[in-house]
Structure formats: structure tokens, C-alpha cells
């Protein structure tokens, strides 16, 4: 029985442009307190545009209804469990939204004098030092806008240090289980990517690493726990192999939710890593962003961190722009400060013991799901898992049902699907990450749903293959979308 959902009514709504009618308005402006200007005279007639064709014209109530109706077509964390592996979809406490909107923080201009930005700088400094403690690293920059930009920053740091040592080298090693941003970021930093195969247990192959790591390798980029949710137990040895060859160890920290308070990358040989504040530290994903991708480094890499850096001058915070060895900026200003505020609020709320408890619960939840679902789904890599677990659809595929179908059927049971078809080393992956914020009640509902679907695959595979059946929109034609792209609305 499907306990969590029944179909619910959702209203139809046209696109903004189709709801517009001339003369409607939702805007107000105060009376101008200075003389009005003639646009052509002030700006030059050639520079002035006519009406913006197609731009919306709606009333205030129409505007709010429009977006409210659209919102009702979304699933979200606030609806329920969102077990997207690798994405760490945990509850987003609302206090974080409140504090990020406080006037003195939200309206702080990045160029306002340092004497009037001490509060903002203090928040950044406090987060930097908390993240350094959590990761066991020596210095942190908050500048990168997301995980991928953190990766680019980290690899540029490695490049700068190696250049200083005389040879930036040409290759970066990346395990075949890695996220796509890893190779894409390494390429922007000017490196050739070399894939290294994982062992049959799904972890780093030390022998393969030792063979690959010659004097031309700049670094290994590794995710730990890796994308199978398995801790890379040989990580310290991998670091030794790399360091012996003058290469570095980069850690993709997307999965830090499995380690906070339990183990620190700085203690197992990592030279540089990024964190995703929008995963581990609970800043909301907002339908795809914003996030923040702070980078934490060991002492040797600190001089190369992006400009500017916070420094203490006569008891006050100041920005240090004069950093001769810095890789430069990776973006304007100082980072996604609004995300910084939310992440610090999360850390303050939990405190040290609370953060560790969150990790324990995240792992407990994932292990619990694994144990209960193991009888029903194939587990290609049976090593102990941490915060997520990756099954394969091998058993169901024999009956013609693939991971994507099972994912869609989960929607009918009231859940957001898990991550489909990633990591690529698992054939037909079902990647499940519950996070610590799910109760046993919600986990059991999810597990019951998965078991029920496994049974449906045997008794009524067509039901699963054509799911979802309960949603306002049924399966969409992605092939047609890609063959004849329609990327904007146009008047009929």
C-alpha cells in the first residue's frame, strides 16, 4: 500500500508571458524627488530602447499566484525524504534564512569600508577557523562559489606550488568513480586527465596508483568516502605514494557528511580539499544553487590562496590584497557570503558534539537502509558503507526494469528518487543518501516503498516502467527536447 501519498490537485498555470495583459502592473515607485529627465537627451537617442517585446505585465496577485502555482509542482525537502546520493539533501533550518536576511548582513556592500564591515568579516573568519578545525587543515578560503569552483581553485593552488618548485607537471589522476566536475575542473587548470581504475572492492588501487604516479603527475583527486559511500582505507598510503613522487593529494570533500567529528582529511595526508557548504553544512539548494565551495589547505599551499585574504591588523579585520604568490581571484569579491552566514549558523547550532552526532546519524541511517534493502537489490560493492549506499539494478534489469524506472516509481510512493546511474562504475546505479535528518519513521516508509517496488518489478513490470502515475506531469520526452531545442517562449 502506498502510505505516503495520494494524488493531490494542482492548478493549471500558463507561462508568465501568456498571462500578461497590457497595462497591468505589480510595481510601485516613489514620487521622484529630483527633476525628471528626458531619456533621449540624457542617454543619447541612439542608446534608448523601445518597449521590451514580450516582457510581462501582470498584477501583484497574479504574480504571487503564478509562482505559488508553479511551486506546487515541485517536490522538496520540506515535503519529505530526498535521498539523492552525493547531494546530502538534509533539512535546511529556517533560522539560517532569517539571520542571512538581517539588514546589516544582507545589505553590506562589498566595497564598504573595512571599519564598517567588521561584523561580516568576523563571520567569515569564524567560519574559516571552524572549517579548518573540522577538516584538520591549516587555512581556508571562502571565495569559491561552489564545489566545482573549489576544485578548480584547489588544482590551481597545486599547480602554483609545483611551478614554484620548478615543474607544474602535466597530468592529474582521477579514479573512474569520480564526479564529472573533477576532470572538468582539472582541464580548466590546464591538466590532462588520466583515469585510474578502482579495485574490485571499489576503492583506490594502490598498485595502479604507484604505477601511474610518475614525475609527471601533479596530483590525485580523490573523493573520500568515495562515491560508493566507501571509506578509502588506504588513503594515507596513497598520500605517501604521491608525496614520495612530489605529487599532491586533492580530496573532493562532497562527502564530508560521513566524516565530520570522526576523521579529518588533514590527519590522513590530504594537501588540499573543498567542502560543499550546500551539502554538509545544510545551506539550501534552491532548485540548483547557490552553494559555496570553500577550499582548505595545508600550510605549504597557503601563500597561493586566492586574493584577498582576511588578516588581523591592530585588533581589527582587514583585507590583504598584496599577496605576491596568490593564484589571483577566482571570482569577484569574497565569496558567497550569504551562504557563509547560513553555514556558520548551522555550525553554531550544532556545536562540536552536535556535528559529530549528525555524522553518526547520517551513517546509521544509510547502513540501516542498506541492511534492509540488501535482500531485494544487488549490492555490487559489499564493503562497509558510510553515509550512502549504492545498489545496482542488475536483478531488476533482467526483467526489463532499469534504475531510472524504479526511481520514477518511487515518486508514486511520495519520495524523491535517489541518484540514478551515478557513479558510472556501477551498472545501473541506485545511489541512496538519506542524511541524518530523516527519522526512522520516514526511513521505514522509504524502505517499504523500495521493497514494494522490487515486488512490483516481478509481478507487474509495466506498472514500474511507465511510472510515475500520480504526478501532474507524466514522463517527459527528453529526446524531442534535445532534437529540436525550444529554449525560450515565443509568441505564437
Amino acid at each position: 500500500m502506498i502510505r505516503k501519498v495520494r494524488t493531490h490537485p494542482s492548478q493549471n498555470e500558463a507561462l508568465l508571458f501568456e498571462c500578461s495583459s497590457p497595462g497591468k502592473r505589480a510595481w510601485q515607485l516613489p514620487e521622484l524627488d529630483v527633476p525628471a529627465v528626458d531619456a533621449a537627451e540624457a542617454l543619447g537617442a541612439a542608446n534608448v530602447r523601445g518597449e521590451i517585446p514580450g516582457f510581462p505585465e501582470v498584477s501583484e496577485v497574479e504574480a504571487i499566484r503564478h509562482f505559488t502555482r508553479l511551486s506546487s509542482w515541485n517536490y522538496s525537502i520540506d515535503h519529505g525524504m530526498y535521498p539523492l546520493g552525493s547531494c546530502t539533501m538534509k533539512y535546511n533550518p529556517r533560522i539560517n534564512e532569517v539571520v542571512a536576511r538581517m539588514e546589516g548582513l544582507a545589505w553590506a556592500h562589498p566595497y564598504q569600508p573595512e571599519s564598517l564591515a567588521q561584523g561580516a568579516m568576523e563571520v567569515m573568519a569564524r567560519l574559516e577557523s571552524a572549517l579548518a578545525e573540522i577538516t584538520g587543515m591549516d587555512a581556508v578560503t571562502l571565495q569559491p562559489a561552489a564545489g566545482a569552483q573549489g576544485e578548480l581553485t584547489g588544482i590551481l593552488l597545486i599547480r602554483a606550488l609545483l611551478e614554484k618548485r620548478g615543474n607544474p607537471r602535466r597530468r592529474i589522476l582521477i579514479p573512474d568513480s569520480a564526479h564529472g566536475t573533477n576532470p572538468a575542473s582539472a582541464a580548466i587548470a590546464g591538466y590532462t586527465v588520466e583515469n585510474v581504475k578502482s579495485t574490485d572492492a571499489g576503492v583506490l588501487d594502490l598498485e595502479a596508483l604507484a604505477r601511474a604516479a610518475d614525475g609527471d603527475v601533479a596530483a590525485l583527486m580523490v573523493t573520500n568516502p568515495n562515491t560508493l559511500g566507501v571509506f578509502e582505507a588506504n588513503i594515507a598510503q596513497a598520500a605517501e605514494i604521491l608525496h614520495a613522487k612530489g605529487a599532491m593529494l586533492y580530496m573532493d570533500g562532497a562527502n564530508m557528511n560521513a566524516l565530520v567529528g570522526i576523521a579529518r582529511p588533514g590527519d590522513f595526508g590530504v594537501d588540499v580539499m573543498h567542502l560543499n557548504l550546500h551539502k554538509t553544512f545544510s545551506t539550501p539548494h534552491g532548485g540548483g544553487g547557490p552553494g559555496a565551495g570553500p577550499v582548505a589547505v595545508k600550510k605549504a599551499l597557503e601563500p597561493y590562496l586566492p586574493t584577498p585574504r582576511l588578516k588581523r591588523v591592530r585588533g581589527k579585520w582587514a583585507w590583504d590584497f598584496k599577496r605576491a604568490r596568490s593564484i589571483g581571484r577566482v571570482r569577484a569579491f569574497y565569496g558567497n557570503f550569504g551562504v557563509t552566514v547560513r553555514a556558520l549558523a548551522y555550525i553554531l547550532a550544532h556545536g562540536g558534539p552536535g556535528l559529530r552526532n549528525a555524522t553518526v546519524d547520517a551513517v546509521l541511517n544509510a547502513v540501516y537502509i542498506r541492511k534492509r534493502l540488501e535482500p531485494f537489490f544487488d549490492l555490487p560493492y559489499p564493503s562497509p558503507n558510510m553515509h550512502e549506499v549504492v545498489f545496482s539494478d542488475d536483478r531488476q534489469a533482467k526483467l526489463g526494469v532499469r534504475t531510472g524506472d524504479i526511481a520514477k516509481r518511487l515518486i508514486d510512493y511520495g519520495f524523491h528518487p535517489y541518484t540514478v546511474s551515478f557513479p558510472m562504475i556501477v551498472h545501473g546505479a541506485l545511489m541512496i543518501e538519506p542524511t541524518e535528518t530523516e527519522s526512522k519513521l520516514e526511513l521505514d516508509l522509504f524502505i517499504d516503498a523500495m521493497i514494494s517496488i522490487a515486488k512490483e518489478v516481478e509481478t507487474d513490470p509495466e506498472l514500474v516502467k511507465h511510472a510515475p502515475h500520480s504526478t501532474r506531469t507524466s514522463r517527459v520526452d527528453e529526446v524531442a527536447a534535445a532534437r529540436k531545442p525550444v529554449l525560450r517562449w515565443k509568441p505564437a
Binding site: V34, A39, G44, R49, A63, V98, G287
Partner: protein, 431 residues
């Protein structure tokens, strides 16, 4: 639960970790605090910032009114707490809103396609430059010195290891517009892109069309950058631009000490497969109803990996939604009126001050004040945050500051600023 997991204690869950990697002490962080205390902490920090000051800062980050509808919409959990819309059937809200966003940006910029967002304007610029290099098969980029200095810094960081030399051409010392002769001198057959900003960093409206002609004559693309999106309410969309790389902070995105903002890239249809970032497309579902989904994903890192058009994954979706709501609220007429109010305020203030450049401005302009740092210090006592001293970015303008007025700048504050500056200006003139 532990029983079901075959574990005697939570500690067992971590037994497979090598002992050497384990942290055997508590994290050195304060114990957790309550919601009330958290609010208190941040209220105190907020109070240490510039609260209650009049501000004339712009320079890429503008103080515009945020209609209350914006937060009403983006605070909805359905938008706030959902992930990237990979599962189209339960993400039509986000997908539809992004499709509307892409359309609005096209309407605003006069381009054919726009992506679902970049991190910000400063990273949109290097992304656009890399895109131009892929399209033209060339590598040099030529950026106007009047492009935001921090955007050019980000451009250099990205370009450095891609065999992409970044060179710059100057601005005209009288008008503040870019120097077309210098552009002519520096462009060559290896130039992939010419990058210009309008209104430029000095607030001057540049002749993008003229730069485009020069670029096109040499087979290069023209990348047009904007930092002040409100200007597009009244200024003609960039003539001849091949790629538009912009920042939407002006559209209801709080200054928030530098981020998060939202960047965009828009371009012509023929270049769509070289675009970075996510794209939403229209399609139908199995019942034949209109539906939306992420599309042309083979450009992206999760499929093409090291050959992807960009490494971007997480973008700025919620911020782009703020901009979407903003554009909806102001609409056709409102955005124009808003832009005109900005022009009127800036004209009023500029009329009282000694501007450096003769070029026509939108809502910012450069004023020669003599030592801007000490003037700003004095202004702070009057609860005024002055303009941005330009010496850090342009040594030749060390005696000048960049001043901005928006619809939120009150006449009384502008009068106070000009009064405060006037004795100094007079003194400068006498000296």
C-alpha cells in the same frame, strides 16, 4: 536501528576506519546554541556593519529596492529546499521558472538563448571567453580596461593555463568610453574575442556596436558584459554582440557583502552547443501536455567530463528565481520607469559635482575629489559612505572616486554629499 544494522553501538559503524585516521578527541568548537542565541549572535555582527548609513557605492553591486514579493516566493520551501530539477515530473515548478528566466533574459538582451545561470558576472566573463575560443578556434582575448577590474582578474585566473593570453585596450581619457583606436591597434587574426562592458566600470555608456564591427572585421566575437542589469530597462540591447555575459545582482539580489549573485550567458542560436551551464527546454509528456526538462546536457561535466564546455554544476538557481520575480513585478513599463529614476537621480547628483568623463552615464560616474580615502573618512562622520576610491584599480585615477545613485538614493543625502565635497572641490581648484 543499531540492532537491524548488526551493530552494538554507534562506534561499530566506524570500526572499519583505520585507527590512524580517526579523530580521538572532540572537535574544538563551542557547544551548540539555541535559535534565539543564534539570532542574537548574528544581530550583533550585523550591528558592526554599516547600518543606517547613506551609501554612494556601486561599482558592480547596486542598492535597488527589493519588492517584498521576491522573498515571499523564494522563501517557499518548494523552491528553497529542492535540488537541481533532474527529475522533471516532480520539478516542473523550478523548470518552468527557469524557462521563463531564460526567456526574460533573451527579451532583455535581444539574444536568442540564455542559460539557467552562472555563479556571477565575474565568472560569466571567463566562461564566455572560453566559449569564444572554442567557437573561433583562436586563443587571444582582448578586454577593455573599462571592464570591471575584478572581472578581469577572474578572467586572467581562468585563462592563464589554457594558452589564452588576455590583453587589454585602453579607455579614452576624456570620454571614459573605450578607445577604438587602441582596439584597432591591438586586435589581430588570433583574437578570439573582444570583451567590453556597457555601462562600463566608470558608468559610461559605450558604443558596443562600434566595437562589434571592429571585432567582426577581424573574425573575432564580441562579448558584451553588464554589471548593472537595471540599465537594460532603458538602454538599447547590445548591437552586434555575439555573447552577453552579465550580472543580475541589481534584480532584487541583496548586496550581501559580495554574494551570492547570479550571472548569465546569452548568445545566438548557432552557438548554443558551445554554451556553458544548464539549459531548460520545452517538450511534452506522455499525455501530450507541455512540459519542461533539462536539455542539451551532453555539453556538461556529468557527461562530457574533461571535454565539457564548463565545470559548473551547482549554479545560482534560487537567485535567478529572485531575478525572475523581480522582472515579473516590474515588467515592461516598470523596468523602464525604474531605469529612468536611476538616470534622473544620477544626473541630479552629477550636476552638483565635478565629473571626470564626458561620456553619457547611466547611474554611476567618476568624480575628481582629491584624496578619496581621507574624504570618505570625513564623510563617515556624517553617516555617509562615499564612492569607491579608484586608485586601487586605476593608479591614474587615484584622485577620483566612482559614485552611484539609484532610485533608493534620497535627494537630501545627495545634497549632503555634494555639500561635504564642495569645500574640498573648491580648495582643489584653487590649489
Amino acid at each position: 536501528m543499531l540492532d537491524a544494522c548488526g551493530a552494538a553501538s554507534a562506534e561499530d559503524l566506524f570500526a572499519h576506519l583505520p585507527d590512524a585516521v580517526r579523530l580521538r578527541r572532540p572537535l574544538d568548537l563551542e557547544p551548540g546554541i539555541s535559535e534565539y542565541e543564534i539570532a542574537d549572535y548574528f544581530r550583533a555582527r550585523a550591528g558592526e556593519n554599516a547600518d543606517g548609513y547613506a551609501s554612494f557605492l556601486g561599482a558592480g553591486v547596486y542598492r535597488h529596492y527589493r519588492p517584498v514579493l521576491v522573498d515571499a516566493v523564494v522563501s517557499r520551501g518548494e523552491f528553497l529546499t529542492s535540488y537541481t530539477p533532474y527529475q522533471a515530473e516532480i520539478s516542473q515548478g523550478t523548470l518552468t521558472a527557469i524557462f521563463e528566466f531564460q526567456t526574460l533574459i533573451c527579451q532583455l538582451t535581444g539574444m536568442d538563448v540564455a542559460n539557467a545561470s552562472m555563479y556571477d558576472g565575474s565568472t560569466a566573463v571567463p566562461e564566455a571567453a572560453m566559449m569564444a575560443a572554442r567557437i573561433t578556434g583562436r586563443h587571444r582575448v582582448l578586454a577593455a580596461r573599462s571592464v570591471h577590474p575584478e572581472y578581469r582578474e577572474a578572467l586572467r585566473t581562468y585563462a592563464r593555463h589554457q594558452g589564452m593570453p588576455v590583453e587589454e585596450f585602453d579607455y579614452a581619457k576624456d570620454s571614459g568610453a573605450f578607445d577604438l583606436d587602441d582596439l584597432e591597434r591591438k586586435i589581430d587574426g588570433e583574437t578570439a574575442a573582444v570583451i567590453v562592458q556597457s555601462p562600463n566600470f566608470f558608468g559610461v555608456i559605450d558604443d558596443v556596436g562600434a566595437a562589434a564591427e571592429i571585432a567582426h572585421a577581424r573574425g573575432a566575437l564580441l562579448i558584451m558584459v553588464f554589471t548593472e542589469a537595471v540599465s537594460l530597462g532603458i538602454l538599447a540591447p547590445p548591437a552586434g554582440a555575439d555573447i552577453v555575459a552579465g550580472e543580475l545582482q541589481s534584480f532584487a539580489i541583496s548586496p550581501s557583502y559580495g554574494g551570492p549573485y547570479a550571472g548569465i550567458i546569452a548568445t545566438r542560436d548557432q552557438f548554443v552547443r558551445q554554451m556553458p551551464g544548464r539549459l531548460v527546454g520545452q517538450t511534452v509528456d506522455t499525455r501530450g501536455n507541455r512540459a519542461f526538462c533539462l536539455t542539451l546536457s551532453t555539453r556538461e561535466q556529468h557527461i562530457r567530463r574533461e571535454k565539457a564546455t564548463s565545470n559548473i554544476c551547482t549554479n545560482q538557481a534560487l537567485i535567478a528565481l529572485m531575478a525572475t520575480v523581480f522582472m515579473t513585478v516590474y515588467g515592461k513599463e516598470g523596468l523602464r520607469e525604474l531605469a529612468l529614476q536611476n538616470v534622473a537621480k544620477a544626473r541630479y547628483l552629477a550636476g552638483k559635482l565635478q565629473t571626470v568623463f564626458t561620456g553619457k552615464c547611466f547611474n554611476e560616474f567618476v568624480v575628481r575629489t582629491g584624496d578619496p580615502e581621507s574624504i570618505n573618512k570625513a564623510l563617515l562622520k556624517k553617516k555617509i559612505v562615499g564612492g569607491l576610491p579608484l586608485g586601487r584599480f586605476y593608479p591614474e585615477l587615484a584622485d577620483s572616486m566612482l559614485i552611484c545613485a539609484t532610485e533608493m538614493t534620497r535627494r537630501a543625502d545627495m545634497d549632503a554629499l555634494s555639500d561635504a565635497l564642495r569645500p574640498r572641490l573648491a580648495a582643489e581648484e584653487m590649489a
